[in-house]
Homo-oligomer: 192 residues x 2
DNA sequence: CGGTAAGCGGCACTCGGTGCCACCGCCAGA
DNA sequence: TCTGGCGGTGGCACCGAGTGCCGCTTACCG
């Protein structure tokens, strides 16, 4: 339970991302992944419920981190709490950035992956909405809180997309984009 | 080209939604849909590239309508323009509401459909971002415009979700929710 | 009336995903 | 040491979505 994932799954994942990068996601069959990972096809599906999950798997860890980080934030301003939580989550070591880039690239331009990813984000949206409703004193289903939750996640997608579009952006640039997005959300989009 | 869809496709679609409602989306095979529509399986796939498209097909029409409505809006305030555009688009006749409800229900709770729908919404996001960048005088890739586009679509999803959750909400209620969501986006989420 | 093109649909195939089951290695307990 | 679970493995057969191919009908046009 302390081990987030077995060593074998890790190996499988690395080999798979390698193949996806070299020949494309759709062009790589599960059979190839299994063979390349030295494992039976059936076993592959025990580690990853779906071919998509090889790429998306870690998003769930991200959700857990988000929930935890949100809970750590004080105050009654959901924007400030969400901003701090996302900044806290998105601390990547320089060594992790290439892998992050590859993942984001896949998610960005394989429609199937983009689709599945946004479904995963639903839980993020709910978590943010619930947190905001709590801080505002709204009831759980409040439209404002729902809009907030979804808008925040949408903004973070925009941030990742913008960051990924700049080939040499580093971890600090990511933080700056997060700040910028939250500024916009906080201030609103009305013309002055 | 004037005819948005052939009569046969329309029949196919009605029969399919009927079956989805009565026995569920996943539990209905394309074979059944073809048989029920009095058409060959192969032909079914000529009308709908995917089983999902039976439910989602009309979203593309919605995009065209959105783009048109946005172009009709004057002024340099993207929020006002988007608000007016969405209000213009979402005029449903009372007779259409039950069908809309069924569609939304399916999209809401069949994950596969929710996933595919959000991919379709990418084009909406882009259209809104481009429009906003134009009105603000930002360049096309501006983060603020990207965030705006995505936040608007996210809000509209929240609106449809909220509307669908209230069984007896009518067309006016939908408009009111749209207003409320845009108010929040316009004002921003900062605490006073 | 003959020819041609477009829509139709059957057939066979690929690929992702699942249920079933046999097998292997490990660890208890007698 | 033998024996009986038990978890992980992976082969096999199957299902459903989606696609390419090809032969057929039908309707339109010279």
């Amino acid at each position: 339970m302390a081990t987030t994932r077995s060593a074998r799954a890790q190996r499988l994942e690395n080999v798979a991302l390698e193949l996806f990068a070299s020949q494309g996601f759709d062009e790589t069959t599960v059979d190839e992944l299994a063979v390349a990972g030295g494992v039976g096809r059936r076993t592959f599906f025990r580690y990853f419920p779906t071919k998509l999950d090889v790429v998306l798997g870690e998003l769930d860890d991200g959700l857990a981190a988000l929930v935890g980080a949100l809970a750590d934030q004080p105050g009654d301003d959901p924007v400030a709490a969400a901003r701090a939580a996302f900044l806290a989550i998105n601390h990547y070591a320089a060594a992790e950035l290439p892998a992050l880039r590859r993942r984001l690239g896949l998610i960005e331009d394989v429609p199937e992956l983009a689709a599945r990813a946004t479904v995963r984000y639903r839980d993020w949206e709910s978590a943010l909405a619930a947190d905001a409703a709590g801080r505002w004193g709204d009831d759980a289903g409040s439209l404002r809180a729902q809009v907030f939750g979804r808008a925040v996640v949408a903004s973070m997608r925009a941030v990742f997309s913008a960051w990924h579009a700049r080939p040499e952006a580093d971890a600090d640039a990511l933080g700056a984009l997060v700040e910028e997005a939250f500024d916009a959300l906080s201030r609103g989009f009305a013309s002055p």
